[in-house]
Point group: C2
Chain length 407, copies 2
């Protein structure tokens, strides 16, 4: 008998019919002798509907009251799922975040979980109940309703799994696992049976949006076994996200090819190479809430250097405007920008012990005549910025070169 | 400075625009130096939408989970109203039933309020907040969400007014008060400045549906000053529902004329006049969940009697079918029914001290050639059943005869 936490997202519970399907799936699991805790999101579209309502009554909706309104979305789902379970003869009990209780700090709309009271859930499970918990929400020490921010239901699932020492936390979504790359670009892409947390973080932040990054970090920290599965398929093992690479197994060097089309490149030319220059350039950009991704500073030449970074395309004009304003102050020669950039990354914990990944990547791209504009590396990832028009080609050839194509 | 509880029903908060209007009204009250607790219902249509959802996932929605789902309707409204108040510069704080807490028994979907914790509300009021409480809901001793049943928001308002010893509980609705009769039938109908609780109970149960009967009983019991007002009019004192008749004032004998068109008459002819016969006739009818209104048993004649009662028209066929089935067993000669009945009542605490109300009523109807089919009386009410086609005429002539027409 295992204790399993299952999380179903908004699409999986998007209609009464789908909620009934989830109930059947959960009841089947329970019938196999497992104990099941289910975490659910609001029905798809519901959170947006509620937010739209708040904007109609207030120009700047108060965060405390926003949480009161928005948290009703998940509350409706837990009630519906429990009555669907009872309707097919499965004992079940619902909990709002406040009822569990999932104690958070008081940062409304982006609260952090501090503690979970596992006793009442444990008692209900032992009495044969499926326990259904509202994702995305909690309560602060004063009894105020809080929410964890978008995607917070994944975090609720992982946090419950950690608190109750569950054997596994299963995230049900509309894909059947994590793939070596996007199958829409590379039809030969393979579903991974396992991926490490570190790789998953790199894949997720690079655009393979299957799991909330925060929940992956959380699962890594508390060593929760996390599995991504499809809620629309009866069979399949999904992808298991493991705490560490299994040294007993033949580890592939590269686990996947990630990419991001939404990149724009900014280069500040001829800046004096002196301490503090990076801060002088990026400080004002960060102050304007522009997220900077890759940052490259070339070696000095005649006392000046070129400084490049990438931002999302929507932020490009803002970033360039800011830099034009400080250009004279920092003594730069010019500010250049490019909206046609794209980023491709090879990710894999195996590259730690296998040298030559970078050179293989660069050679593969060179053979196709693809020019590399920027390079950035980490322990388990190599990213390059290239012209956007070569993106699909680059992903395909790298996927093949690193032996990821399905047999 | 007064402490006022204001309750706004579903129509009054039926759209973002209307919620903003309620916010303005409440803020104005607060600006006059009063302390205000607001109780709100779900936006009109929302409760029905949620109930429809539950019926799509379960044939027999579990009552505990039904309360979890349905209580979100009021939770959305409290959040929206508070953010609308803050948006116009008025401090405000929302409370769900569980947050107050409004302690109830565990009878899901029809819970009774046991206790209200007034301390947190008192503290918020003293800090200058408008306190907004979700109507219709509470929490049992185990932390389960409960609801009070339809119309329960009025009860929440009265219960809060009682717990906090408020100066007045104002029920805002879509009419501007309680009238001597329905103005659609008698254009001369007057709004009453005051009415006693007992009269209100008779008026409400007879079809003048302004207030939930249960909340009126509650207000009477705890001596809460209750006032019915329009949420769509800026001015007006509405109707005050008083605990007892004010003996210093010239009391009108009759306060209003109530009526009910949805009546059907059943007569069981020639039943043996022996103990237990009423139960033999009405027992099976009650077992079938048919609500019986008036019950008349005529004096015995040759050892048999005629037994008549009224039911709502939708229940008539069911009632007649049941009685045809037991007719032989109880020894009745025949069962007759009439779908064209209607009931008219004169209501007033003044009739206790003024004899002659009944004879005046009967004479007035006789002068118009209206035949009386059944008569039933209480301390403060006389009801008659007449042919439906005479209903409007009867209400008009009685309204005039008892001096209720506006000057």
């Amino acid at each position: 008998m295992a204790l399993i936490v299952q999380k179903y997202g908004g699409t999986s519970v998007g209609s009464p019919e789908r909620i009934k399907n989830v109930a059947k799936r959960v009841a089947k699991f329970q019938a196999q002798g497992h104990q099941v805790i289910v975490v659910v999101s609001a029905m798809s579209g519901e959170t947006n509907r509620l937010i739209a309502l708040t904007k109609e009554v207030a120009a700047n909706p108060d965060p405390r009251e926003l949480d009161v309104v928005v948290s009703t979305g998940e509350q409706v789902t837990i009630g519906l799922l429990c009555m669907a379970l009872k309707d097919i003869g499965q004992k079940a009990k619902s909990y709002t975040g406040g009822q569990v209780r999932i104690l958070t700090d008081s940062s409304h709309t982006k609260a952090r979980i501090l503690n979970i009271d596992e006793a009442p859930i444990r008692r209900d499970l032992n009495e044969g109940n499926v326990v259904v918990v509202a994702g995305f929400q909690g309560v602060d020490e004063h009894g105020n309703i809080t929410t964890l921010g978008r995607g917070g239901s994944d975090t609720t699932g992982v946090a419950l799994a950690a608190a109750l020492k569950a054997d596994e936390c299963q995230i049900y979504t509309d894909v059947d696992g994590v793939y070596t790359t996007d199958p829409r670009i590379v039809p030969e892409a393979r579903k991974l049976d396992t991926i490490t947390f570190e790789e998953m973080l790199e894949m997720a932040s690079l655009g393979s949006k299957v799991l909330q990054i925060r929940s992956v970090e959380f699962a890594g920290k508390y060593k929760v076994k996390l599995r991504v599965l499809s809620s629309f398929q009866e069979e399949g093992e999904g992808t298991l996200i493991t705490v560490e690479e299994d040294s007993n197994m033949e580890q592939p060097v590269i686990s996947g090819i990630a990419f991001n089309r939404d990149e724009a490149k900014v280069t500040v030319l001829g800046v004096p190479d002196k301490p503090g220059i990076a801060y002088q350039i990026l400080g004002p950009v960060a102050d304007a809430n522009v997220d900077v991704d890759m940052i490259i500073q070339n070696v000095s030449h005649d006392g000046t250097t070129d400084f490049s970074f990438t931002v999302s395309r929507g932020d490009l004009d803002k970033a360039v405007g800011i830099l034009e304003g400080v250009k004279a102050h920092i003594g730069a020669r010019a500010v250049e920008s490019d909206k046609t950039a794209a980023k491709v990354s090879v990710v894999g914990v195996g590259m730690r012990s296998h040298p030559g990944v970078a050179s293989k990547m660069f050679r593969t791209l060179a053979e196709e005549g693809i020019n590399i504009q920027m390079i950035s590396t980490s322990e388990i990832k190599i990213s390059v910025v290239i012209e956007e028009k070569y993106l699909e080609l680059a992903v395909r050839v790298l996927h093949k070169a690193f032996g990821l194509d399905a047999a």
